[in-house]
Symmetry: C2
């Protein structure tokens, strides 16, 4: 059996896992990233948690065919370099791939973290056995990835799959990126909270107004209990997602859209209205391959699994 | 030198051309499709114009490595079958690829016509030397194609690149497909004319109102002469295009968007406002690969060139 080491670098934690060629997790672990300490400390932590995962799998690094790394971008897959990242202080043109590869004495590939998570869901999660899949990572912001005919689309500068910045309402809310009407300005956790807060400030009554602070999780809980504002806020997020799904369906024609990230923890509360709005906005022409919309199935393991899978694509043995 | 025969089946004409492996046109020709006569007549005409192009190239069919066919869809690339097509009466589950291949005694591939045209512009037109390109075919309707890392995206059912049905204004105009706010409902020739007619009916003054009938060409001519309504109509088409470009930029990150089809004959009158609106709607974050937007360069030859190029990808010699 051939084994890969997947590393998923986040602003808060680093996750590591040994994954075999059939996408089965053999071992896994997690450590704080300590990103504020700068890139040297982050590399040290990545190497440490990677080694620990390999030991836990009862393997040696010599038995690891290659390492896959998922990291916040922007980055260069070709060069294995982080250009700079708002969540990773000091990472300016930092050769993360080669630093990790040298320390662990193995070949490595570097990909955008949301792209890696999408590839993970494709390889062994909700998209297993699908060749055409799109994943949305609905977190503080919105990222994603597009797999077409089994290939993760990278784009000309490794920025494909920035699905949060599809424009769904051109005259709509301003996004943190500066554009108006981005999907992210409706369906990210940040904007879900903000939309609830704005409605309450405008006088809409809601059980949320009694809370000290609102979170996306609270919005989902109050929607579950029937709060009309919370339901309306999730419905707006779902409609924005559905509009993006219709456009994606026409551009890349996936079989499946997967919803992952923190907002997807709302489960049916986000899934059902997304499906409903998709049916409403999508054409009614005969469709031999009707799009499926599902929740992600790998949780926070998707990143390291996908990174390992991308390593396997480049270094099949 | 290896040669391919490209055939581009339209509702009105069939274009044929012999193209060498370096994408140079060796010969070309065109005949009426006579689509109303049904599929047998269409096949007869395709075979005839194909043979003529090969003879004109001073070649025999034995010297043609493979045939590429572009056709209106929906169709199956895998099976080489036209499912049914509003513009091709009688083509119901019709095995166009194998019928043409058998008559000409050569291997053949079948692709959607707009996809083929996009591949043509990628292979030897405006997108030559680009690996990531999107093309819009702005005609009666809007089609297109997406080339990512040199690969034409097909999608799960060979319907990728239906770019006219990206939703740009969710509360907007109804499209012929039944969706609201499609790009096609703003930037196709049909809707460009309709938007001008509607504005005139609502009392907007325009030099177009003196015409017996308005066409997209006339709209461009009157815009050129400074007619405010004609300019505004083209500007609306350009803004819709720009919104689609922003979303495409984030989804597949092309280096280049190519505008082709009849509406692109307006040249700078459509190109300049599309670029302007793209700059306005696109984020201002640092962009190491700024998107270029250009006019197509192959005209109506793009279809058979691209079909030949797709044949070359499958049958490299």
């Amino acid at each position: 059996m051939v084994h890969y080491l997947g590393l998923d670098l986040g602003g808060t934690n680093i996750k590591a896992g040994v994954v075999d060629e059939l996408a089965r997790i053999v071992s896994k672990g997690s450590v704080p990233a300590e990103a504020a300490e700068g890139p040297e400390r982050v590399v040290y932590n990545m190497v440490r948690v990677g080694r620990e995962a390999v030991e836990k799998a009862a393997l040696t690094m010599a038995e690891i065919t290659a390492i896959g790394i998922g990291s916040p971008g922007p980055l260069s897959v070709e060069r294995g370099v982080i250009h700079n990242s708002p969540n990773l202080p000091g990472f300016v043109n930092f050769p993360l791939r080669d630093r990790v590869a040298a320390s662990l004495d193995a070949k490595a590939v570097l990909h955008n973290d949301a792209n890696a998570a999408a590839f993970g869901e494709y390889w062994s999660g909700a998209g297993r056995e699908m060749q055409h899949m799109v994943m949305f990572t609905l977190g503080t912001g919105i990222g994603g990835g597009v797999v077409s005919d089994g290939v993760l689309l990278r784009g000309c500068g490794d920025n494909a799959g920035e699905l949060g910045h599809i424009i769904v309402h051109p005259e709509g809310r301003q996004c943190g990126c500066g554009q108006n009407g981005c999907l992210e300005a409706y369906a990210s956790a940040t904007h879900t909270v903000r939309r609830a807060e704005e409605a309450i400030a405008e006088g809409t009554s809601s059980t949320l107004s009694s809370l000290d602070s609102i979170s996306a999780k609270r919005v989902a809980e109050h929607a579950q209990k029937g709060d009309a504002l919370a339901i309306a806020v999730l419905d707006g997020a779902a409609e924005a997602l559905a509009l993006a799904c219709v456009s994606l369906r026409h551009v890349v024609e996936p079989q499946l859209v997967v919803l992952g990230g923190g907002m997807a923890a709302a489960g049916e509360l986000i899934l059902a209205p997304t499906r409903k709005h998709y049916q409403r906005h999508m054409w009614k022409l005969q469709d031999s391959h009707p799009l499926r919309i599902k929740l992600a199935s790998l949780g926070s393991d998707a990143g390291f699994i996908g990174a390992a899978g991308l390593a396997q694509q480049i270094f099949p043995e």
